[in-house]
């Protein structure tokens, strides 16, 4: 249906303007018409038209080409058709150079205009269809705002669905910015506790005593400043889920209290003597290596095993680069609503920059980068130039300091050992990275007595 599409006719001559608008309306388009360039620019600011028919010569204001250039500043993809009764090669060249889709000499045959309009509308329909399909695809590759199509993220999605209906405690591990809280929320929202509260607590943000009171609540007068009784987060989460972020940072005392909650499902308010019972699902998260902390005595082993009933490990973004385009587009779509910016896409060059960066801050850093690019960009498509603030990809050839006091064969030994470690002992892959054949690599391994 053509009714979806709106067309703007800009012509200072009333009869020309209105008759053209009437002719287009008979084709089912919604047509608006204005008498001057200035008014056209104002209308275009309010609405994106599918086609702009703009007369070249309009006295007393911007002419057709100036109007088009002004509109294209904020609608760079606007399909503009410049109409003129007095065609010259110069104006035609200028119009096309400045981005006019077509340059039409009036009068032209109805067949020509009809074909031109239907060609532009066909492209518009395809673009719209493309956006709809993209959204559908994104829904297929996402669960509660977590986006990814990589095998690693598919595993995470599978685990979320699998554990959502259980009551078991979940430990989510992953670097900062990988979306641990999103995973926790997804588990909560997918399961039968979805209609009950989801309470999130950042354990690292509060001092020990404050965190204790925050988690378990306190009785009136239990400490200075406790002027009223206060319910803790565990009570607030009754029937639902409590998300304990940065669990690796809690004190030894709190580790014991938490262990009791997990074992007995009971606790005491600070300063209270009544044992309180709760039905709360615990999901904890950390960016630390808890197993190492257990080994080093920093984290209770029994608590670790209580928390680690189900383990979900979220891979860092650099290990699932194939998700970057999908995530980036997802953020563009979200930010375009929040920032009220008409940015619809990221160019191939832009995606290349994003794909080549390691994203130590993971998805959160990527989202911030997209937001920064969108704030400063005036285009509808983000390109490599919009991401100039991202440091260039690490260059392995220059990213290390060359030692000046080391034997050459020691350097070779260390490089080979590091490469084998990096490939997890995969000799074929290591040989390819080092640029030598496998037999040479075996020979060096033997020579330097390297473990495989």
């Amino acid at each position: 249906m053509n009714a979806h599409w709106e067309i703007l006719v800009v012509d200072d001559e009333e009869i020309a303007r209105e008759s053209m608008a009437a002719w287009m309306r008979e084709d089912g388009y919604t047509v608006e018409s204005v008498a001057c360039g200035r008014e056209a620019i104002e209308r275009a600011k309010l609405k994106d038209y599918a086609i702009y028919f703009i007369d070249l010569k309009m006295p007393g204001g911007p002419d057709g080409i100036e109007t088009m250039m002004e509109i294209r500043k904020f609608r760079p993809d606007a399909p503009v058709i410049i109409i003129t009764a007095y065609a010259t090669v110069d104006t035609a060249i200028t119009a096309m150079k400045e981005g006019a889709q077509e340059y039409v000499v009036k009068p032209c045959s109805p067949a020509e205009i009809s074909l031109l309009v239907s060609r532009i509308i066909k492209v518009k329909n395809l673009q719209r269809e493309n956006i709809i399909l993209r959204k559908k695809l994104l829904r297929q590759y996402s669960i509660h705002d977590i986006v990814g199509k990589s095998a690693k993220m598919n595993e995470v999605f599978g685990l979320i669905k699998e554990v959502a209906g259980l009551r078991s405690t979940v430990l989510i591990q992953g670097e900062s910015g990988t979306g641990k809280e999103l995973v926790a929320r997804a588990i909560h929202c997918t399961g039968d506790r979805a209609m009950k509260p989801f309470i999130s607590v950042s354990c690292a943000a509060l001092a020990e005593t404050l965190l204790e009171s925050e988690l378990f609540g306190h009785e009136k007068g239990s400490f200075t400043g406790a002027t009223t009784q206060k319910k803790g987060k565990f009570e607030m989460a009754e029937g639902g889920t409590i998300f304990l972020d940065e669990i690796g940072d809690i004190s030894a005392k709190l580790q014991i209290d938490l262990l009791r909650v997990l074992q007995e499902r009971t606790f005491y308010r600070v300063g209270g003597s009544d044992e309180l019972r709760v039905d709360v699902r615990v999901i904890a998260a950390t960016n630390r290596n808890l197993q190492l902390d257990v080994k080093e005595g920093k984290f209770r082993e029994d608590l670790y095993y209580r928390l680690n009933v189900i383990n979900i490990s979220i891979p860092p973004l650099r290990d699932r680069r194939e998700d970057i385009p999908l995530l980036a587009r997802h953020f563009v779509e979200r930010q375009s609503h929040e920032l009220k910016k008409n940015v619809t896409e990221i160019s191939e060059s832009g995606l290349k920059v994003l794909m080549n960066y390691d994203w130590p801050g993971n998805a959160r850093e990527l989202e911030n980068a997209i937001e920064r690019a969108m704030v400063s960009s005036h285009q509808t498509v983000l390109s490599a130039e919009d991401f100039e603030f991202i440091p260039p990809a690490n260059n392995p050839a220059t990213d290390w300091r060359i030692p000046a006091n080391i034997r050459l064969d020691d350097v070779e030994k260390q490089v080979i050992a590091a490469t084998i470690r990096q490939t997890g002992g995969n000799i074929k892959q290591a040989a390819a990275i080092l640029g030598i054949d496998r037999s040479t690599l075996y020979e060096r391994i033997k020579k330097y007595q390297l473990p495989r």
Partner: protein, 185 residues
Amino acid sequence: MNAVFVLPLGTLDADIAATIEQGIRRVFGLDVCLMNAGQTPDHAFDARRRQYSSELILRDIIQQCPEGALRLLAVTTVDLFIPMLTFVYGQAQLNGRVSLVSTARMHQEFYDLKQDRPLTLSRILKESIHELSHTFGLIHCPLQSCMMSIATGTSQLDAKSEVLCSGCSLLVRDALSRIKNDRHI
């Protein structure tokens, strides 16, 4: 009055008048009232293009539309144009009361071809019903065989059948029943 008024602008041959009248009765089921012939307004003539502005004629006949006319179809023998296009077969007020059709390009002689009266009458019938249907709110139909499909040349015009497709027929019936309810006719 519950009729479509037909206003000849210039001499309207009897067979053309009869074709239009029968077509209107068949498609819309409405009475037809043939008005006394008038003249195509001089001020609509563009000396440079040697054609008449359909927009100006339409504006003129809106003023002349009789109070009791349900719709008015003006039929002119002159060639019509709008500034953007080299020609138009006709023009209508979408969802309005007045429409206009030109018979100039319906004749084979216009294209230096041998006269073919049945073909001319068929073309006039199709374009008259097409323009009148716009006044009932119908827009162009994607079905080429339907009278409401767009014709930008004689090949498209001749490819149309002399009937509205079932979808467009339904729209006409709906429009007529709405008018009937509004006017209690």
